[in-house]
Amino acid sequence: MLLDGFLSLVILFLAWRLLTSKDLFKAVVLFIGFGLVMSLAWIRLRAIDIAMAEAAIGAGLTGALFLSALHRMHRAGDTAPDTDEEPDAT
């Protein structure tokens, strides 16, 4: 019960952090972490097949897809040049 509450809080916190993050790379990494914690949540719901699929597809494939998209954005010049403002609190 305590674990479930903790997992829900972690999921919500990760989701909030990744959605409000200005650094896109950090957002993608948080998304992959989010996928893995989500997989744990599926296991707690006793849906182990879905947990496996979530880990492989949600964290693995979609994470790699986002990284590839970020790389293409960078190559195409859609990312702002590196500035050193707002260092993140974490």
Binding site: I48, D49, M52, A56, G60, M73, G77
Partner: protein, 247 residues
């Protein structure tokens, strides 16, 4: 730090409206899930009652591949359609070749690909007895394929027979089995009880290969067919060297 260019600040009304919409959606979903009965008991008892005749011992696989096999057939068809849609969505851009050789990057596929293929086969096989099955095994296989393609910058050609058969195999085998049961027993997708397990394994194997290939192609794209040389010209990076495409 990688930010988006043209990152305009969002107005407060937009933020407020989005917050209201998100919170109400979350509230509706929470209320919906909360008002469900703890376990849909009659469905559970039904599934466990009919499990011996389904040919497998895992209730999830039994439901997916036997009791609701028609849904899975359509799912695999939808995956194939999604691939066709994605491949038609825009011009193909080849991956920019990096500096060769890259021993560190190639180390990962060399270490992991054998285990990934073995793991995929295991997950496929264990789907009969424990959580697993075709979709999970296919996703693992696609992960291994992505590892390989990212490390070697391979381009996958759509026109080769092996790629196209891999992508279509799942749907094809599933349809053939379904039509065979229609011809032999008069009912679509009604497996004979004695061979239900074998049929499910055959379908799942083809589906694993297919799902792995489709997910891989969804990730990496495919060089278009060269049968129509004046259409679908793929974009080559300026200083590309010709790499050997797969077959």
């Amino acid at each position: 730090m990688t930010r988006m260019k043209n990152d305009r600040p969002v107005s407060r009304t937009t933020k407020g409206l989005t917050a209201v919409a998100a919170v109400s959606l979350a509230a509706i979903l929470t209320w919906g899930v909360w008002s469900l009965p703890p376990y849909p008991d009659h469905v559970r008892t039904l599934v466990f009652e009919k499990l011996p005749v389904s040919g497998v011992e895992n209730p999830v696989t039994a439901v997916l591949l036997n009791f609701r096999g028609y849904d899975t057939l359509i799912e695999i068809g939808v995956l194939l359609l999604a691939l066709v849609g994605v491949l038609s969505a825009g011009p193909y851009s080849a991956p920019a070749p990096g500096k060769q050789p890259r021993p560190i990057l190639m180390l990962l596929p060399r270490l992991f690909l054998p285990f990934i293929i073995l793991l995929s086969g295991y997950v496929l096989w264990i789907g009969k007895y424990a959580p697993g099955g075709a979709f999970q095994a296919g996703a693992v296989l696609a992960g291994g394929g992505i590892l390989y393609v990212t490390a070697t910058d391979r381009r996958i050609r759509l026109a080769t027979g092996i790629v196209r058969s891999a992508v279509a195999a799942g749907l094809l085998v599933f349809l053939l089995v379904a039509l065979a049961t229609l011809v032999a027993r008069g009912q679509f997708l009604q497996y004979p009880v004695a061979s239900a397990g074998t049929l499910i394994l055959v379908i799942e194997t083809a589906a694993t290969v297919s799902i792995g290939a489709i997910l891989l192609l969804l990730f990496v794209g495919a060089e278009p067919i060269e049968a129509y040389p004046n259409r679908d010209r793929h974009i080559e990076p300026q200083n590309a060297e010709k790499e050997d495409p797969i077959k």
